[in-house]
Symmetry: C2
């Protein structure tokens, strides 16, 4: 295991310390390991929180700031955060008009966010929760009943964050988040495994000529192993299942997101994006906006995922709205 | 070699096609492989161009846009661009008041930019050129007479880009660039090699327990191989040579840049930044601004580099000025 760390048990706390030091104008870190918007709580604004295991940076802590999340709860690497973290996040961002939890569909996350919701409501804070389950690769998975939540989460947090910033009420913000989840689909692939610091060895084995199609963000098995071929031939194995699933159709407009898994350099992600443009063009689908880069990663895993969100004028307007977070920033 | 590419010979052209498709509101790609600001040329504004081998993305193409570069010339992976590319870039961005070339100090880049300068002046365009040679690791290197140009280039392009945007004349813009180069120092390390697509195998070998201290961005040898230890013990091997070299001293203010080499995930870069804050604090050096992320990479190499720029009020003001490029964006 070759990592720029001190010890497996200090990875998350030390990374959060570094993050707080680097982005003190945008976020603060409060006990127990909660990344909070520096000006929270905002009175009269719905609070938006998310969370999940660490190892997917910049998600979620890098998305805390005006126009996106109010707080994020990072668990240990690839492990759910605790209800206690979520409760503290909820209390820290409660502006008196309720808090929305955006929850990726993994069993531990779901259970703990449910528990946190009960605890927060016991303290008089109104809470709604929306599950993200956009990964079309598999129906159930190692850590999941139902589909996994992956890249769609990034788009949901941006769009729903913009709506919350406009002062919309909790019910509307939650409904918008459900709409985004209904319209978004994703699938990923891996060229290499990653090494969880506590484990010290690769999560799975993949041969020199192999690619795992439909990989999960924790290295969970996907649909199949395939021979590694030119990316122009590989990419349809992600895009076709995504298009079939919603289904997306000719005339649709989408926000297209090419995500890097952590170890794949940007030069390759642009080659992937080039091919995605061709495939969507052939399907008559118009890319209204795009995002290319490593935003929901799996430590140093090499690979990528594709996320497509069918977007109407309203979703595009909210996507374009100003955002000022460590990892996404424009118009601010 | 496991990469999301089609063929080694098409990597650069396909990545540029993807980049142009993704960022068509900011950049365009013209023949022969030049990334140009979409609204170039800007009349009355000094044009700013840079370039170098591909494989360091987002540098330089990702830094083209208002407030930073006007054009970038990407060569083949880890190979100098041609004088022809540089001449076309110069002509594309010439707004009638001259063009500044920002050149990383590698022999091929230097020779070709000199030739391009002659060619452009032959066409009546005033050109100045500034070398960046901020890497304190080694005095001469595989591709270099004198020190290598590395992370300081990113800071120079941002700061000098802001000055050019203000409409300052060529001589002043060039002088500012020389000042930034005089005040900036860098050093890097690698945990793994990278694989150049045309070569198909690792550029160098590094044992499981080894780290290369002072690595070049093309995998050129550094100062020494060291045993991989906790990052808190490794980081002084970069920071102390940097501080000694300028030298930086107590009371100095700096822009501190923790760069990822491509294969190192963000969670580790924040752990590095945390340690950097401690070391600078011990030295009495104040971090006025920071940048953490993969901005000058070496394909999928795992590792990081540290860049420190001693910054006065003017440099900090220019750093803060709006920038709107694919890879750096704020205030716009």
């Amino acid at each position: 295991m070759k990592k720029l760390i001190n010890a497996p048990e200090s990875v998350v706390s030390e990374a959060l310390a570094g993050m707080a030091a680097a982005h003190g104008d945008q976020v603060k870190v409060i006990e127990p390991n909660v990344v909070v918007r520096v000006d929270a709580p905002r009175q009269g604004k719905v609070g938006l929180i998310s969370g999940g295991g660490s190892g997917h940076e910049p998600m979620h802590g890098g998305f805390v700031g005006p126009g996106m999340l109010d707080a994020a709860c990072p668990g240990a690497v690839f492990s759910s955060p605790t209800p206690d973290q979520m409760l503290e996040a909820t209390k820290a961002v409660d502006g008196g008009v309720g808090v929305l939890q955006i929850v990726k569909n993994y069993t531990g996350d779901v259970l703990n966010f449910e528990m946190a919701e009960d605890l927060a409501e016991g303290e008089g804070i109104e809470v709604e929760s929306v599950l993200i389950d956009d990964d079309v690769a598999v129906e159930d998975s190692t850590y999941t009943a139902g589909r996994r939540g992956v890249g769609g989460t990034v788009l949901a947090e941006k769009i729903v964050g913009a709506a919350a910033e406009e002062g919309r009420p909790l019910g509307e913000v939650a409904e918008l988040c459900r709409k985004v989840n209904a319209e978004v689909r994703s699938m990923g692939l891996a060229l290499t495994s990653c090494v969880v610091p506590h484990a010290g060895e690769p999560t799975f084995e993949l041969g020199e000529g192999e690619v795992e199609i439909g990989i999960g963000i924790h290295g969970e098995p996907g649909r199949k192993r395939s021979e590694l071929r030119p990316v122009d031939e590989i990419l349809p194995m992600l895009v076709e299942p995504i298009l079939r699933d919603l289904p997306f159709g000719s005339g649709d407009r989408v926000i297209a997101f090419v995500n890097g898994m952590g170890g794949t350099p940007l030069i390759e992600l642009y080659i992937v994006y080039r091919r995605l443009v061709q495939l969507l063009d052939e399907a008559g689908i118009q890319i209204a906006r795009n995002l290319v880069g490593p935003f929901i990663t799996s430590l140093e895993m090499a690979g990528c995922s594709i996320t497509l969100l069918r977007a109407d004028d309203e979703l595009i307007r909210l996507w374009d709205a100003p955002v000022n977070t460590p990892a996404l920033r424009w118009g601010a």
